[in-house]
Every structure is written in structure tokens, then in C-alpha cells.
Amino acid sequence: MRIGSAKDSYAADQALFDSRTQWAWVGVLTVSLVVFPFVAGDYWLYLACLVAINIASACGLNILTGYTGLVSLGQAAFMGLGAYTVAVLENRLGTPFLLNLLAGGGVAMLGGVLVGLPSLRVKGLYLAIATIAASVLAHFLFANLTITGGAAGLSVPPAEFFGVALDTSFRLYWLIVPVTALLLIGAANLFRTRIGRAFIAIRDRDISAEVLGIPLLRYKLLSFAVSSFYAGLAGGMWAYFFRVVTPESFPLIMSIFFLAAIIVGGMGTILGSILGAVFMTLVPEVLKLVVGWLPLANATLVLSPVRTIVFGALIVGFLLFEPHGLAEVWRRTRRFFHLWPFRT
């Protein structure tokens, strides 16, 4: 039983992890992340990389939508910008992959700022639809510029790290998971600074935030920039992971997927981005298993529509019954164990 925790300094109160128990769990998590690739099979490593990429992008979207309150349906387009930047740099210049990733993030960031520009004049759903416009424009550019290889897209050579080609899931794991971990720690720390608090103030009521002296346009653009930087990095990792980038790789449904992930996980929490991305990435895999078990004649034919239905039902179900998402479920569970044997 661990009821409450006494804090006797501001530093303790502000700490990311505030108790020994939590530090212990962080240690366990780190060790298991390090051990995981040595014990897991190829399929699980593949999933782990995919999940990590999705976590990075979902976390970016959560900064924009969950924390700043600006709904965006353009996350996939920003990922596309990052992925194409990486692909073009890798093909044309052959620059080192870390530089490419950062450049991908940077280009996506520019795109994000550009898309964010109308955000001072329009908000809410108008903005959401303006971001759909951005993704349509991005798709058009990807499909019609010569540098992006048109409809056929570009293939990406594997990233190289001191002469070792990162061409298997096992090797890529050591690139993708640390980058994602860094991004997550960065996001968690962002909300302990004045910038992060300004984002939250804008979400809660943008007019009051402006009255309090927060320059709205600057912070909204900043939020777009950070969010699309995350998306760009995620897109870059995506490009190295799948090694081919086409205009069809980043459809509108992918943006909806990320929005769904943060709804399911929990808007405005870092943990929510992680849980949501893990959950939404793994559900289709679980479905594949379940549909495989069912005695159906045409299981593969049924799979895709069932997936679409479950995807929609998850969005609707969480919004109706658990609007704060899995993060809230997790919080309740934790509370239960903290207070046990008392009733919560």
C-alpha cells in the first residue's frame, strides 16, 4: 500500500518520475527493451519497430491535438515529407542517415509551419479540413514531381552505421527505439517548460491564453512545428524501415489512424500516445489471428472489412464509453493498487 507521496521541494514535485518504485519500473522497462531483440523472433521485432515508429508519430500528433487543441488530419502527409526527404537525400547525396533523419524532420517542420499559418484565422473543424487540403496537396506533389519518382516512388538504400548496413529488423531496432525514446522524453519534458504550459493554456481556452500574454500565432505555429518534426522523424524511420516510399504510402486514412490512436490512448498525455499507438498497431495483428482461428471459408477476404469495422468501432466505442482513453484506464488501475485494500 502506497497512499500519496510527500514532497518537500519544488524539484521533487516537478520530477518526471516521483517515487523510487517508479524509477525501479523505468529500470525494468529499459532492461527489457535492451534484452527484447535478443530473445524475440523476427516477426516480433518487425512489430516492435512498427510500433515504435507509430508511437513517435502519435506522440507528435498528441502534442498538436491533445495538448494544443489543434485538430490535424495531416500527420501522414508530414510523415510523407520526412520519408521523401530521407529517400531523396539517401539516393542523391548519400549523406549519413542521422543527418538525413534530422533533415526529414526539418522539412516536415517547415511544411507544418506552412500548414499552421491559417490556424490563427480558422480553428476547430475548419482547421482540420484545411489540413486535409495539405495532405491532398502533399500527395499531389509526391505523385507529380520528378525528384520524388512519380507514382512509382523511390526505393531507399539501408541506413549505414559505421559500415554496418541497418537492413534487418534487429539492426533497425537499435536505431528506431532509441530515437523514439528520445522523442518521448523530449515531449514529456516539453510540458514542464513554459512553452508546453502555453500549449495547454491555448487548448483550454485560446482567448484567455491570449489575454494572459501568450502570443497565439507564435505558439500555435511552434506546436505545428514540433508536431510535424516528430512526424518527419517518424516518416524518416518509416522510410528506412520499409525501404520504399510511394505517394500511396501516406494516405488520409493514416492520419485518421493516428488521430484514432491518440483518442484510444488518451488525448493530452504522453502515456496515451504510447498506449494508443501500441494498441492500434497490434489490434489488426490480433484480428488476423482471430479471423484465422474462426472456421471461415474465405478468411482472408473477410479480414480487411472486419479490420475496417473494428477500427471504426474502437474510435466510436472509446469516445462514447472511455473518452479519456487507455491512459485513464491505466491511471485507475494504478490508483486501485495504491489504495488497496481500501475502496477507490
Binding site: V122, L125, I129, A130, I132, F140, A260, I315, V316
Partner: protein
Amino acid sequence: MNGFDWLYFFEVSLAGIGAGGLYALTGLAFVIIYKATRVVNLAIGEMLMLSAYIFFAFTAGMQLPAWAAIALTVAASALLGAGFERLLIRPMLGESPISTFMVTVGLASILVGVVELVWTADPRRLPEFMPGGAVMIGQAFVAPKVFYAFLVTAVLIALVLGVFRFWRGGVALRATASDQAAAYSMGIDVPKVFSLSWTLAAAIAAVAGILVGAIGGISSSMGVFGLSVLVVVIVGGLDSIVGALVGGLLIGLIESWAAAYLGGEYKLLATFCVLVLILLVRPYGLFGTHEIERL
């Protein structure tokens, strides 16, 4: 303008107006829901698609005559619309508009899945039920289906406008739209108006779905039509019926011109460029009400 083919331009424009009529009709369904309930219904394209498939089931599956199938489809869709409102939208009352918007996104996904599960993802053709003779306006040729679809659309839009103007339910709808609290205190059953708006919109979407399906065939990706409709209502203003009509025709024309003179892949691009322009110049659309916010 030497060598500019005016006849071709005229024909392209007519086709654009024909398509625009369907956009306007679907935009109308969208605006009715938004006006009464403040819900942005992203699933409008998918509701339209579902109706087209229901019509397909009645005509091709059960071999009903077209007029009976149309009536049954409209009734079934209206029922479904009321059901969606009751099951999914009503519990979201008082939640943020974004959450409700996402519920309709989920609904759209469910509808696509259901249609693919029942009818598979392969495109189908609806049986012919419109007169097929070529239609000439002046010297210009208009595809007969587009022409008759436009006629039906125009009649239906006039009907809906009349309903809004004179029928008690329509008046209640307008009253709720302009001030919910006041409507409540005047004895209008606001929840009933909510479900009425969804029923009406679903019925209109059903007709639009049948017409769109008759012209271009039906497939589970028909919901993309809804994306253009979204542009239409944003350009016209989310809460303006006139806006939906003007925006529909405008977007129809622009898409048609872009497709004819630049190529098919420019269609969506052109509409979204117009959208961005309008958003920058008039953020609340051409005819939308500008909401003034105070602390």
C-alpha cells in the same frame, strides 16, 4: 482566344453543373445536420454509399421495380439516419465538437467495413432505370444520366427549401438552429428536432447516393465523394443552405474544368486549392455566419 473550342467548354461546364447539383444536394444534407445539431458529419459520403448499396440490393438483388426500390431505399436510409443519431450522436451531447466529429469518422469506417463485408470491395453497376436518349441543350451534348440527375436534384432541393419554409417541422428545425435554448423554452422538442435532422439528411443522402451510383457505378470507395462535399460546405459556409447550393455548383464547375483542361489528377487538387484560398480570404466560407467569441 483563337481556336478556343466554345462548344467543348460549354459541354464541360454543363457536365460540371450536373455534378455540382449532386454536390449541392449532398451539401444540403450536411448543412441540415450541422445547422440543427452543430455536428460536422464526416460520414455523409459513406451514408450516401450505403444508400446506393441498399438500392443495389433492392433492384439487382430482389428484382424490385426502380420506383419501389427508390422509395424503400429512402425509407431505409431515413431509418438508419435516425438510428445513428440515437445511438451515436445523442450520447455525445455536450461533448466537444471535435469528439463528435471523430465519432462520425468512426461511423464512416464502420459503414465502409460493413459494405465490404456484405458486398465485397469490387465496384458494381446499378441497373439502368433512367431514360437513355441523348439530351441536347442548344448544340451541346449532355449525358442523359447527368441531365436527369440534375432535374431530380433541382426538384428535390426546391422541395426541401419549401419544407423548411412552410412545414412545422422545418420551422422547428430553423428555430433550433438559430437558438437552441430559446427553441426549448418555446416548447420545441429539441431532441426530436435532432433526430428529425438526421432522418431528413439521411433521406436526402439516399437520393444523392442513388443518383451518384447510377452515373458512376457503386464501390466501397464512393465515400471519397464526401471529401469534395466537405470542401463544398466549407466554401459555402457550414451553416448556410444557400452556401451549399452555390458552393456545390462552384466546386462542380471547377472540378469539371480542371479535369477537362488539366487532367483528371488535378480534380481534387483544384478543389482543395479553392478551399485554401477561401479559407484565407473568408475563413467562415462565402455565406457562413461569422461567430464572434468573447471571454
